[in-house]
């Protein structure tokens, strides 16, 4: 299923279409400068909202609501970050509980998806399964279902079995949404490990299961780690199921909790910004760790290089 677009790597800085020497002559140089300028402007536009969010999170309230907006000379405070974790009267804030819930839900659902998805991906890669292509397409298409639509029957189902407003309910639905991704992503990684390794091991007297566990699995570990990180990010960021299937503070994950901050008549934007930064930071770190696999990751394992 893996798509291979030749052998290129986009982050490789040495590769270029036109040798620089040729490009930099005469008219080419002016153009090059223009291109750099254009890229810079685009980068500033793309990054401005993120920088603004970070800036707002460390601004004193007075400066947050200043008109016209203050870009540079503002008073720095860490108060908003304190408010994220500590409740006004001391003790843990509702937000910090939500963050903890997010860690549990994202972590457990990712583990579940990995445990179910990796063996399935290996089996799809190694064995001639009946209607393999159809099965794989079916698996991927479940991932494309509109969450708002799926949540209606899930809501009724959970109400019947008492999973409404429980972490287990969220974990199950997130795992179900991450399993297709894990299978598609991991199948690509398994395909890259030659089946001959297992054949050789089996000639040496290992069973197929042993061959998988002792020879293929260790080679798959980096791929499993990357896949799990993506699944973690998806569950961490998920909002639609979280808001419809949970309601109490002790169960709610971070996205609905942060969104809940703008419910009242006045909005503490400094707190919203700080909570957003705290929420987004781990994602950015994780995304940076798996940057080599981003193309495969964001296309649900469908496109690979």
């Amino acid at each position: 299923m893996a798509v291979s677009v030749d052998e290129a790597a986009s982050t490789d800085p040495v590769r270029d279409h036109t040798p620089p020497a040729r490009r930099l002559r005469g008219r080419g140089r002016g153009r090059s400068v223009l291109e750099v300028a254009l890229l810079t402007v685009l980068a500033v536009v793309m990054l401005f909202p993120v920088l603004w969010m970070i800036e707002t999170s460390i601004k004193e309230n007075r400066d947050v609501y200043a008109v016209p907006a203050k870009f540079f000379d503002f008073k720095v405070t860490m108060g908003h970050f304190k408010d994220v974790f500590v409740a006004p009267g001391g003790g843990r804030s509702a937000l910090s509980v939500a963050f903890l819930n997010s860690v549990v839900v994202a972590g457990v659902s990712t583990a579940l998806a990995t445990v179910l998805g990796v063996p399935a991906a290996w089996a799809y890669s190694r064995f001639a399964v009946k209607a393999k292509k159809d099965q794989l397409f079916f698996i991927l298409s479940t991932r494309f279902m509109p969450p708002v639509v799926v949540v209606i029957p899930i809501f009724l189902m959970y109400r019947q079995v008492g999973l409404i407003d429980t972490k287990l309910g969220l974990i199950l639905i997130y795992a179900a949404f991450n399993v297709p991704f894990t299978i598609w992503m991991m199948k690509g990684f398994v395909d890259e490990v030659p089946a001959e390794y297992e054949d050789a091991a089996m000639l040496d007297g290992y069973t197929r299961l042993q061959a998988f566990r002792r020879f293929t699995l260790p080679l798959l570990l980096p791929g499993i780690a990357a896949t799990a990180v993506f699944a973690l990010i998806f569950s961490w960021n998920e909002f639609v199921f979280a808001i419809f299937l949970t309601s109490s503070d002790s169960v709610r994950t971070a996205p609905p909790a942060i969104a809940g901050l703008i419910g009242g008549t006045t909005v503490d934007w400094g707190l919203v910004a700080a909570a957003s930064v705290v929420f987004a930071l781990p994602v950015l770190v994780f995304a940076y760790l798996v940057r080599k696999h981003l193309v495969a990751g964001v296309t649900l394992g469908a496109v690979r290089r």
Partner: protein
């Protein structure tokens, strides 16, 4: 990629059944058992959490069931479907969704490809540039929505503040009929341009260098090279990205919920948001299910298209 390494066991079983070599037979059987044991747990979870709910929704869509009223569900067959397909309200949401999907995806594609093209022409700092550009894509829609909502704020939003210092008038971005949908498109474009950029960049760096060298020996113009080499080679991959984004944009819910809640009026209510309103605010579960099933049909068609192109790309 996988074909040469895949073991075609079921073919071998047929051949082997004539004269079974004694020691190999049990292993092949255990292969099949292993495949079933490894695949079925994942499939069971999907059946339970995706297929079964959808089938239930399908059943509900033929009834007048209401989640709040409870009671017995009565079969009313296709009444829900005809009601939805003939409703002017739904048509309006379909139009809004269409404008939103086409507008956002077009903008993203043009911008994303342009950025990718510019980056691919750089020799230095490509890794850093790519990483910086990718940040918006990794953020949660909640964070993105909240933050743009703050920036769009009519009173102390930074955008109006900048407009003000340029001597331009203030705009109520999210609370005006005309600008609200536009703002939504802008935010989605901001978040997902990196996605197109990433995939376009993958395509661009995969174009073999010698093609350009050959073209420049032939003194082909830059535009000619772009049109006859770059575009045809990147297009298949770009199309995948575009279709992927179209499906995602069609399903979009969270950004609308956070940014505008469908308002002002119903000017930013997409189909997804409307389904939510019918289901959770109107509690017409039957109607909402029918509505949802129709959306699923659209998604299925788009997914089929996506997978077909994916297959084509894989075969080339």
């Amino acid at each position: 990629m996988s074909d040469p390494t895949t073991l075609t066991t079921d073919h071998a079983v047929q051949v082997a059944s004539a004269t079974p070599p004694a020691p190999r037979r049990p292993r092949r059987l255990s292969d099949r058992g292993l495949a079933v044991a490894f695949i079925s747990p994942a499939l069971l979870l999907l059946l339970g959490m995706s297929v079964f709910p959808l089938l239930w929704a399908l059943y509900l869509s033929f009834t007048d069931y209401s989640a709040t009223r409870g009671g017995q569900a009565h079969f009313i067959w296709f009444e829900n479907y005809t009601a939805i397909l003939t409703s002017a309200q739904v048509h309006l949401r379909a139009l809004t969704t269409l404008i939103y999907v086409v507008g956002a995806v077009t903008l993203q594609t043009v911008l994303g490809f342009a950025i990718a093209y510019l980056i691919s022409r750089r020799t230095h700092g490509r890794g850093l540039l790519t990483t910086l550009f990718l940040v918006p894509m990794m953020l949660s829609p909640v964070v993105v929505g909240l933050f743009w909502r703050f920036m769009f704020d009519a009173q102390f939003g930074v955008i109006n503040s900048m407009l003000g210092s340029l001597g331009l008038g203030q705009v109520e971005w999210l609370t005006q009929q005309r600008t609200a949908l536009m703002s939504l498109i802008v935010v989605d474009t901001w978040q997902w341009t990196p996605f197109i950029m990433l995939i376009a960049l993958a395509g661009l760096t995969a174009v073999p260098k010698y093609l350009y060298e050959a073209a420049s020996i032939d003194r082909a113009s830059e535009w000619f090279r772009f049109r006859t080499i770059t575009l045809p080679l990147v297009w298949p991959l770009l199309l995948i990205a575009v279709l992927f984004r179209a499906i995602e944009a069609f399903r979009l819910f969270d950004l609308v919920y956070i940014l505008t809640s469908g308002g002002p009026g119903v000017s930013t209510e997409t189909l997804s948001f409307h389904v939510y309103k019918v289901a959770f605010l109107g509690f017409n579960t039957g109607t909402a299910s029918a509505y949802g099933i129709l959306m699923v049909l659209v998604v299925m068609v788009l997914t089929q298209l996506y997978l077909r192109y994916l297959n084509k790309l894989k075969e080339d």
